[in-house]
Symmetry: C2
Subunit: 412 residues, 2 copies
């Protein structure tokens, strides 16, 4: 291999970035536009500047660093995101941004002049800490749900305006971001798997064939608050027991369907929330995912039907609201073929797999050829302080990314 | 009936008291030692003073108003509590305190000189907003769990010291309250039923034969946090699904046993509580009640066993801690006979029933003859802004209380 990235430099960058927003629980808390996120953005711009890349920031706060090509357009985009969930890890998103930077530095140092411009990109709010997932890539591709954005209520319950204050970004500028976007030839993203398949199989590289589809609901069972001591079991309209029955039966249903479905109830709030009161209301989230659209729709119908059936049986009401939705998204077959050719040239073991997590690549796939390289998450852990990688895996992933970028940028 | 209370005066008092601590959701929020509770206490003392009753407050903040008898001791206690749950109702506790006051005023006005002193009492923190239920009556009877008290952590998570600051009450004074207590001949308490039996049967008076027993647990299932999209259903160690299975199966088990058992899961908290994370930890309360000690112990064993079985099957850990426990408590058969005689004299329809809610009377029963009169809760609702009574029911209950007090105070 003549062309290779510098893993020491890449590691130093990741370690430095990982200290920004490190929290008391041993993780990283760097939600979009938090102080820590602004610091991470400044850090990235400094590094892009040092690498003599041309810096651009669009109206949604997406940061770009360009290595000029012979042509002005279309550009080859490569990157991921800098923001994290609260108490998240050091590798989710950051591996992709820093690897992209390292690839462009290497290309420059080797004196390769690309035909198409190459751009490192860090998309805003991939984690959906502000409003749903993928604010930045949705703004860039012009696929934002404007209605949700205009509601202006963030996931923290804070008005969007307050969060954006002082950042130079506004509702209007976010909606304008798509007009500033160049034509895109391809999008490539390196990311940790966030699951345990690669780690279990001890394979350093995953090539993503498809990103799963998702439906996120905010739902409520509502019944009757009453006294825990005086209300006989058969007269209760206990909202929590309705939720409990749904949780047991719906997860069983999803598991029975096939191996690819996922159902998670991650948030629950009971009202009034006193030990001596039967819950009159149970609010909860339903996160349903499946890589096949038909199965996703089918499971969705079955679960909503089941909830309605439980509500009737138990004298409850059931309400639900779709708060986020993404369709299953195949990755570009052309890029996948190129990745497979290069990973074989490099002689790295690899697997093809479906991503159960959502990524900016699924948004970019709406406007361009998009593909992803996964590297193993140790023990499959992510969105957790325990998130970890092996440097040799990252080195392989970044080298694969480099070969493919050079191929794409120097041929037509 | 020659001897009768003044329902207009009683109603006025209750309505006035009901405005103290009224909250934005249409209920009353008057937890012990809150500003509203301190106001309610001041209000009661003013009323006791106006009725020329001798006011005493013990080290636990229990308030007494004495009508002197020919003897100094033993005293006949009659009352209930002024504190409420958060967003509770206007009648739970207050009906008993204000009826007691009204009875003593009536006795005084009729020129009846009791043989034994009669005392209105308002016990501190019956609702257990500070540390478990019945702080005041437990302190008065010397049956406090000193260990729990000395932990000094309140149900709000605030140090006990902070809550007591400026009240003149301290951990030491609470523990000394039993030494200040006079000998007690009998304890009588009028209370709303907080269930729907009397209201369904359209009967104005309930005579309580027994107060149910209770076990309150704080429990936790713990599993593994992981990503909602990437973790296959069969590899999950989802703490919430463990809790959901327990909730469904344990409530079914309690309902199948007999009609008298009650099981409530009123509080649930998931960690990390993000829609895209499988809950690694589910904290919850288990409130189990049964009027028969053997059944209570039997159900307790079965439920804990079930939780442990579920934990093993689902790869979870299960922890639990008993945070409150009261044994089933029969009311005094002597007082019950007297109440039955008087309710027949008055020609009021009545039922004998078991109380599924806990009351200070079950604590007083440890040191004296104790009995309770219930009046209907409309639709059985309590611990809720919708808590309601009919004034004619309260009038009947207070008149029954009056007859029994006069019988007790004037005979030996």
């Amino acid at each position: 291999m003549n062309l290779a990235i510098n893993i020491q430099r890449l590691q130093r960058d990741l370690e430095e970035l990982g200290r920004i927003g490190s929290d008391l629980k041993g993780g990283v808390s760097r939600p979009s536009f938090s102080q820590a996120d602004l610091e991470a953005r400044a850090w990235l711009k400094k590094r892009l500047h040092e690498a003599s890349l041309e810096i651009r920031e669009d109206g949604a706060g997406n940061i770009f660093g360009r290595l000029r090509g012979k042509l002005e357009e279309p550009v080859i985009l490569v990157g991921s995101h800098l923001d994290t969930v609260i108490n998240g890890g050091r590798f989710d998103g950051t591996c992709g941004v820093v690897s992209a930077l390292e690839c462009l530095r290497t290309i420059q140092e080797k004196g390769i002049v690309p035909y198409y411009p190459l751009e490192v990109v860090a998309f805003t709010d991939e984690e959906g800490n502000i409003i749903g997932d993928f604010l930045g890539s949705r703004a860039f591709t012009g696929t934002l749900n404007e209605e949700i954005l205009r509601r202006g209520q963030t996931n923290f319950g804070q008005p969007l305006q307050n969060i954006l204050e002082g950042t130079g970004i506004s509702l209007e500028s976010i909606l304008r971001a798509k007009n500033e976007a160049p034509k895109v030839l391809a999008y490539l993203e390196l990311h940790i798997e966030q699951g345990e398949l690669l780690d279990l199989e001890a394979v350093p590289i995953g090539l993503v064939t498809k990103i799963t589809g998702k439906r996120l609901y905010q739902a409520t069972f509502s019944g009757q608050v009453s006294h825990a001591g005086t209300t006989p079991m058969e007269l209760r309209r206990d909202a929590f027991i309705g939720l409990a029955e749904l949780a047991v039966r719906a997860t069983r249903l999803v598991a029975a369907e096939d191996e690819d479905g996922r159902l998670t109830i991650g948030r629950v709030q009971l009202h009034p929330g006193s030990f001596s009161s039967i819950p009159g209301q149970a609010d909860f989230t339903l996160d349903l995912r499946h890589p096949e659209r038909e199965n996703l729709i089918d499971l969705e119908k079955k679960i909503i039907g089941l909830a309605q059936e439980i509500a009737i049986t138990r004298g409850l009401s059931f309400y639900y609201q779709l708060v986020d939705s993404t369709e299953p998204t195949p990755m570009s077959s052309r890029l996948l073929a190129l990745l497979e050719e290069e990973v074989r040239n490099l002689n790295y073991p690899y697997l093809k797999l479906i991503s159960g997590a959502g990524h900016d690549a699924q948004i970019l796939a709406k406007i361009t050829e998009a593909a992803m390289i996964f590297i193993p998450s140790i023990n499959g852990l992510s969105h957790s302080p325990e998130e970890a990688i092996r440097w040799e895996d990252l080195e392989k992933g970044a080298n694969l990314l480099l070969q493919v970028l050079v191929r794409l940028a120097t041929s037509f």
